[in-house]
């Protein structure tokens, strides 16, 4: 869209929104939010950027294809679920670290799982947007 006003604003907004999405993801375990909402916000930010600035410009910022995000996300989620099997516990049993990091809290498989969810949701929404935009 040939609007300088729009493109300029979206460039400013993108990092803010991505930061916000990560924030939503991380605090999700304690406050409303989580991987879904975070991923959706990131996806929307990405959609906004792609629609305003075009696919080529978006590709520059996200070197990985959306499908890669998706695969990585699924792998994260799945392996976080399967880790407990190696400890003889049922699948998807939460395993918690002992050291509490600031902001993030304990490192844990549910966190990894949530990150997986985030990546998948982000990958999916951006993939759909990409596909649709490329069709233009």
């Amino acid at each position: 869209m040939n609007s300088v006003i729009l493109t300029t604003t979206t460039r400013i907004l993108l990092p803010i929104l991505l930061l916000f999405s990560v924030y939503t993801l991380i605090r999700g375990h304690q406050e409303p939010g989580g991987g879904f909402v975070g991923g959706l916000v990131a996806g929307m930010a990405f959609a906004l950027y792609t629609i305003s600035n075009g696919v080529a410009s978006a590709r520059k910022i996200f070197p990985l294809s959306p499908t890669t995000f998706l695969i990585i996300g699924l792998t994260f989620a799945l392996s976080s679920g399967l880790l407990s099997l190696f400890l003889g516990l049922p699948a998807f049993t939460g395993i918690w670290g002992t050291y509490e990091f600031p902001v993030i809290g304990y490192l844990s498989t549910p966190l990894v799982f949530d990150i997986g969810v985030y990546l998948v949701v982000f990958g999916v929404s951006s993939s759909i947007i990409f596909t649709l935009k490329l069709k233009e």
Partner: protein, 115 residues
């Protein structure tokens, strides 16, 4: 308030079914999305609604002692919403393909696969 929500669910359900029975493809899809809304709202309402008591454990306490909204239906609905989104996204693209193949917004033209 539950009464109103029950009415709303019924209304959505009615509208959904009426639209599902239309020949217009897009109305059919809208009807299905209303149906999904009705289902979500139904689960939500049946989980007993309560105002301003989100199932969040206050900082400092370990449990929730007061009456709060039932978290499980919320989790279920969230799952259903997200799944619904995936399916809807696919369906919407599918409609577009249907239009490419029949050219009009009329499900009565989709008879080839039954002949």
């Amino acid at each position: 308030m539950e009464f109103l929500l029950a009415i709303l669910i019924g209304g959505l359900f009615s509208a959904a079914i009426y639209m599902i029975l239309r020949r217009s493809i897009i109305k059919l899809i809208i009807g299905l999305s209303f149906l999904a809304h009705a289902a979500n709202l139904l689960i939500f309402t049946l989980g007993r609604v309560i105002r301003g008591k989100a199932p969040l454990i206050q900082e400092g306490s370990k449990h929730i002692t007061e009456t709060v909204a039932d978290p499980l239906p919320q989790a279920l609905i969230l799952t259903a919403i997200v799944i619904g989104f995936g399916v809807t996204a696919f369906t919407i693209v599918l409609i577009q393909q249907v239009y490419q193949s029949v050219g009009v917004d009329d499900s009565d033209k989709l008879k080839a696969s039954d002949q």
